[in-house]
Amino acid sequence: MNELSSSLLLPAIVFLPLLAAIIAFLIGRNQLQGRINICFSLAQFLLVVLTTLLFLHEQTYQSERYVIGGWGAPLGIDLIVDGFSILMIALTGLLTLLITLYSASYFSDKYSASEKSLRFWPLWWLLISGLNALFMSADAFNIYVCLEIIGLSAAALVALQGSRAALEAALRYLLVGLLGSLFYLFAIAILYRSHGTLDLMQIAETANHSFPDKVAMILITIGLLLKIALFPLHFWLPPAHANAPTPVSAILSALVVKASLYILIKFWFDVLGATITLGASQMLGALGGAGIIYGSWCAFRATQLKVLIAYSTVAQLGYIFLLFPLSEYSMGVSSFTGSASQAAVYFIVAHACAKAAMFLAAGNLILAQGNGEIAQLKGIAVREPLNVLVFAVAGISLIGLPPSAGFIAKWLLLTTAIESGQWWWVIVVIIGGLLGAMYLFKVLSLAFSTDPAVVESPTSKSTPQVSNVMTTVALILALITLALGFNAEFILNISNTVSEVSGI
């Protein structure tokens, strides 16, 4: 056996969740179910940590290629990771571990959701497997297959809730996802016709400013924007994310939209960078800016807690899209480096942790309260102090107040905007922050206002207790969000292994 390198572990990261899915499907509902899944998530996490450490130790821009089947690039499929993908894989590993712990409680026999566990666990692991496979794929068609796994299992997980609203949201989510995939597939067909290969790096070598490449880039962008839910294509996201079971909402907002975003960034900067024009990136930025304002405004007007958080996702995705115009000024390199991409990477990580924490805390609050009306949360801080704390910490990160991961992300974004002379994005970011503070403090001020009549009402005794595990997991995520605010260089070093990190 030759020496262990990060690329040798890549197939294991895909197959371990697949194995977990098969076992979860075979054992069905069982006393040990929760424990087995926690073991799998631990194993998966350790594997991911090992891979990340090996990758960091190698000190390369990209890992070696893992050649499946011994055929090599144009004929077969290769797996490869670079700094950005290893960061996404590590993020997936961490969130998988924590949300699996949460789900083991959420779907245990104590709560009404337990009968859905037969379907939840296999779909959950298939989703994780699809995400991992996506982040390490070096093949355009293989990415399409991964997008299918992710899209279908995510829609099925939303439908798990079983209510009419959830089914409608899931069906719409499914159809929008399929439409987005079809756009992508069409683009891949065009790329294959003009380049004769499906390998991303080989396409990148021969990509030029020709017409088919431009059409392909436009189709990929439209298809993936549908899946990412950038304003004005966000219409499916709030119902889908708000009606799903709580752990599913968390993973959808934290990772699933980011998977499509990852592909878009990959095509935009690495693969078809030659086709990018100034107008196109300014337009994406404008849509992102509109998304920030519109999403924040809708979140402010929402009456349901989970709808508020879902609209907040629409707004936060808008910030990440400011990456496209801001990286413009260093366009000559045409790769995913520079301060704008660092800001975007940091934003992705910060939003994933904060939004997952917030959804889990909101799920706990809803469980304690009995329904998701914001108006009914009055005085909940007395009964569920820890969950309100988690909500507040996650909110601080989403608004971008120090000391939190969100603050660093926004700071990087603002400095890049000023450095590149595109001051108008600064205004958008600041207005977005103010709107974010508005909708989050609306919830918090309600939660902290004391109303003796509500606190001592007898209905609070009939609602189930939120288990300690569920609160703890949310708290850990919130603490990670805070810790990332103090340890910014850690994340930036992973995503950018070769070039020195500067600007903080």
Partner: protein
């Protein structure tokens, strides 16, 4: 899951939204056609991977290029596609009846002569033909997906008489549904040990391993497609089966 959705149409006959939908579909279709025409008019056509596949076909263990691509050159894609199939099955799988037997035969008092004759004549022929397609996949068009689709068609025919019932959530059914994925992953990872890389078939056994994977895939695909059919007619059948349970007692 999705089959509980009520999709009855109770809007007026001339629906404004339907008209706008048709109009937008027409516009989209027109744009699509224009795009395809313009893209196809571009001279930068590439020969693609076809020459490379013909060069390497002797190393793949099969002679049909489609099978070679699906199960050898790009076997990883096919493996993930089989996982997609599992996702679909999971989405529509009913949750009740864990412990009922996998396969149940119910004696029906009222027999449909035409239907039962059709079943007797066609179903065995379809099974034989599916077996042939599976085998033929190695050197001419055919293979697991085609054979599985045929077998699923045969099972749809058999379900028409309500004589046979399959419980898709029984352990046996679940084992068969994941069989192809399990076999695929097992072979793929075992080859890491023997050959040094995922899904690298040794030349001497590649034909055999591909046939083994395809056979298991046929079983899983058949059951998956049959479960799709059964789950969409379940609402009409539940009352029927209830009546039958009573007649048996």
């Amino acid at each position: 899951m999705f089959n509980t959705l009520n999709i009855e149409y109770d809007s007026p006959a001339v629906d404004k939204s339907a008209l706008s939908l048709i109009a937008s579909v027409l516009v989209a279709g027109f744009l699509l056609a224009v795009t395809i025409t313009i893209v196809l008019s571009d001279k930068g056509h590439n020969t693609g991977l076809a020459p490379l596949i013909t060069q390497n076909i002797e190393l793949s263990g099969v002679t049909n290029p489609v099978t070679a691509v699906l199960l050898n050159f790009r076997a990883y894609d096919t493996l993930l596609e089989i996982a997609v199939l599992l996702v679909v099955v999971l989405a529509i799988l009913p949750t009740r009846d864990h412990h009922a037997p996998f396969f149940k035969r119910i004696v029906v008092s009222k027999k449909n002569l035409v239907l039962s004759a059709l079943q007797r004549w066609i179903a065995p022929a379809v099974v034989v033909f599916a077996g042939y397609l599976l085998w033929a996949g190695a050197h001419q068009p055919g293979g697991a997906f085609q054979a599985g689709a045929l077998l699923a068609g045969a099972s749809v025919l058999m379900f028409q008489s309500d004589t046979y019932q399959v419980n898709y959530t029984s352990l046996m059914a679940r084992v068969l549904l994941v069989l192809s994925l399990v076999v695929f992953i097992t072979i793929g990872t075992a080859l890491i040990y023997f050959e040094g890389s995922l899904l690298t078939y040794p030349l001497a056994f590649s034909g055999l391993l591909i046939l083994l994977i395809e056979t298991c895939a046929t079983v899983s695909i058949t059951l998956a497609l049959a479960s799709l059919y059964s789950s969409f007619i379940v609402s009409e059948n539940t009352s029927v089966t209830d009546n039958k349970h009573r007649t048996i007692k």
